[in-house]
């Protein structure tokens, strides 16, 4: 078991304007699983992933990641993120002035890799995601699908225990989305990484080990 969440709750705002984005959610994710989180807009999918990815601090509840209970008050969460978690964002979030290769290297340098190791592994990862000939291209010179591949390579770069992908296909056309899912399948087979994907893209369901439906901050079905 890589993730165990108990009674996670996250509220935004105060008084009458308060919204309970995630409401007493408990779940477990096993190592190597591909979990798809679905639901209508505003149902709390991204908030849940942010809580599981140690980006947000819950108002209530407990999170255990890779056997370690997260201590929100006393623990450096940035360290947890760089050691255990990889992120793929809807808007790719690549650093615009760095090449594809450098975007992967920077994550590894933050993760503590030496420059030599980082460069070698970054090249391998980008080759693995089919961008061997795009290493020196900047994000502005890449297509949406290519950017998301770089984003996946970056997420994998520090050998994370789990990858959280937030709407990775939202800004891609269907062909690019299919290609990306082929990449996810390939990465699962090769890297044995646990992946949690938040998406509206129905076609992803057939590859998932589990599909979680959310509504009003709660898990409707799992």
């Amino acid at each position: 078991m890589i993730v165990q969440a108990k009674g996670l709750t996250k509220r935004f705002g105060e008084g009458l304007a308060q919204i309970v984005a995630v409401d007493d959610v408990s779940l477990t994710i096993e190592t190597g699983e591909l979990v798809i989180v679905m639901g209508d807009s505003g149902c709390g999918k991204t908030t849940l992933v942010s809580l599981l990815g140690c980006i947000l601090t819950p108002d209530n509840g407990q999170l255990t990641l890779d056997g370690q209970v997260i201590d929100y008050a006393g623990q450096d969460l940035s360290q947890v993120r760089r050691q255990k978690i990889g992120f793929v964002f809807q808007l790719f979030n690549l650093i615009p002035y760095l090449s594809a290769l450098e975007n992967v290297i920077i994550a590894m340098q933050i993760g503590g890799f030496s420059r030599f190791e980082a460069e070698k592994r970054a090249k391998d990862l980008l080759t693995q995601v089919g961008l061997a000939r795009r290493l020196d291209h900047r994000p502005a010179q890449l297509s949406g699908g290519e950017k998301q591949r770089v984003s996946f390579a970056r997420a994998l770069s520090n050998n994370p225990k789990i990858i959280f992908a937030d709407e990775p296909t939202a800004n891609l056309d269907s062909r690019q989305s299919d290609n990306l899912m082929n990449l996810v399948r390939q990465l699962r087979q090769e890297q044995q990484t646990t992946i949690v994907i938040v998406t509206h893209y129905q076609a992803l369901q057939k590859d998932a080990d589990r599909v979680i439906y959310m509504q009003d901050g709660k898990i409707l079905t799992d």
Binding site: T46, V49, S50, G53, I55, L56, D76, S78, Q79, R81, R82, Q83, I85, G86, F87, F89, Q90, L91, N93, I95, P96, Y97, L98, L101, E102, I105, I106, A107, Q109, I110, G111, R115, E119, R154, N158, D166
Partner: protein, 384 residues
């Protein structure tokens, strides 16, 4: 991989260049203002030191030889000359006054030095092949009927309004009186490159004091075994004159001509430092705000606050270093091209450079702490 902070600077090069230029201009101005003040301090002392006098006597209540309005009657010449400890016959009556001589129909700035040739207070000769000294008055004790030809020796840097040298034999007008330029000296300039005009004391009295026999001051030397301080005390006891030593005179003239009038400039220098700090703070703050999603992404992928603050600080340090270095270089260049005497002191330059660097870096550091407020959650939606 080249450092990320350098790549970022290249990517945002217009902003980096503009910020650096801002720092360069401010540092140049800070140093030039200091250099102008240093130049004034040097020039204000040059003439006084060149006279080699160590007793400076002016009218009681004037505050000193160059400080306030001072007129002395000729009788003091005898009194001072016979004061024990004053070097016999070293006393020199002197007129030292700002004037606006008219050259080719236009007024220009100058200081008139009226003195007795052979006495303290003026040059002994002209530059070789540049004319002669003025014809002196006949008598050692000055008398109304003793009127030498209206001649003047000018400083070699004195120019016509069109910037040309004034020829030997040329005419200048002071107080409506025509004066014949008979020679040129390589003398010393007074504050803000004001040239000195040397003429006989009687001529100066005629053009400035309507032929009155008064002088502004008297200067003298002490005998070798006498202390100037003791003589100053003794002369002061007379109650009608005010005596100062060389050091006291220098202190009062620097205070009067440089420190007091330049208080506003000192204030301006502090403001410029503040401006340099504010520029760096504002630009760093705005840049940090602009990079919120980028910073959020770095945080989300595990970068610590320290790592991101250091990225920004490295940029601030590089821009500040470049700005300060170029500013110092430009200040020295500008000092050589300035139309007035500017003396940029190396020690002061080091202090200014260090203070400016610290001010800029502190401003940048304060702004970079905005990073601490950036929520990595922003990486998920890209909203501020």
């Amino acid at each position: 991989m080249t450092h990320i902070f350098l790549k970022d600077m290249v990517y945002r090069r217009t902003r980096v260049v503009m910020t650096t230029i801002g720092i360069v201009v401010l540092i140049t101005l800070i140093l030039l203002l200091g250099g102008i003040m240093n130049g004034m301090r040097i020039q204000v002392q040059q003439y006084i030191r060149s006279t080699e006098a160590n007793l400076w006597i002016s009218a009681e209540g004037s505050g000193g030889a160059f400080t306030g309005f001072s007129l002395l009657v000729p009788e003091y010449l005898v009194f001072i000359n016979h004061t024990k400890g004053v070097k016999r016959n070293s006393v020199s009556p002197l007129i030292f006054a700002h004037a606006r001589p008219v050259i080719n129909g236009k007024a220009t700035k100058s200081i008139i030095v009226g003195y007795k040739q052979g006495k303290l207070g003026g040059p002994t000769q002209t530059i070789p092949n540049q004319g002669r000294m003025f014809t002196p008055s006949q008598y050692d004790d000055y008398r109304p009927e003793d009127q030498p030809p209206a001649e003047v020796v000018i400083d070699e840097k004195m120019r016509t309004p069109s910037g040309r040298k004034i020829p030997i034999g040329g005419k200048i007008y002071i107080g409506g009186k025509e004066l014949n330029v008979v020679g040129r000296t390589k003398s010393l300039m007074f504050v803000l490159d004001t040239p000195l005009l040397f003429m006989d004391l009687r001529t100066a009295q005629e053009v400035l004091l309507k032929n009155s026999l008064h002088v502004n001051m008297m200067i003298a030397k002490t005998e070798p075994d006498y202390s100037a301080e003791a003589l100053v005390e003794e002369l002061d006891r007379n109650g009608m004159i005010e005596a100062k030593t060389l050091d006291q005179t220098l202190t009062s003239i620097i205070e009067n001509y440089v420190d007091e009038p330049m208080k506003a400039v000192q204030f301006l220098r502090v403001m410029l430092w503040l401006a340099a700090g504010i520029i760096v703070t504002m630009i760093t703050y705005v840049t940090t705000l602009e990079k919120t999603r980028e910073i959020g992404t770095l945080k989300a992928i595990g970068a610590s606050d320290y790592y991101i603050v250091m990225l920004i600080l490295k940029q601030v340090i590089l821009m500040s270093s470049a700005g300060v270095t170029l500013g110092v270089f430009l200040a020295f260049l500008a000092a050589n091209l300035a139309p007035i005497f500017v003396k940029i002191d190396l020690l002061e330059t080091s202090v200014v450079a260090i203070i400016s660097f610290v001010v800029c870096c502190s401003g940048g550091y304060l702004a970079s702490r905005k990073v601490l407020d950036v929520d990595p959650m922003i990486a998920f939606r890209g909203e501020l």
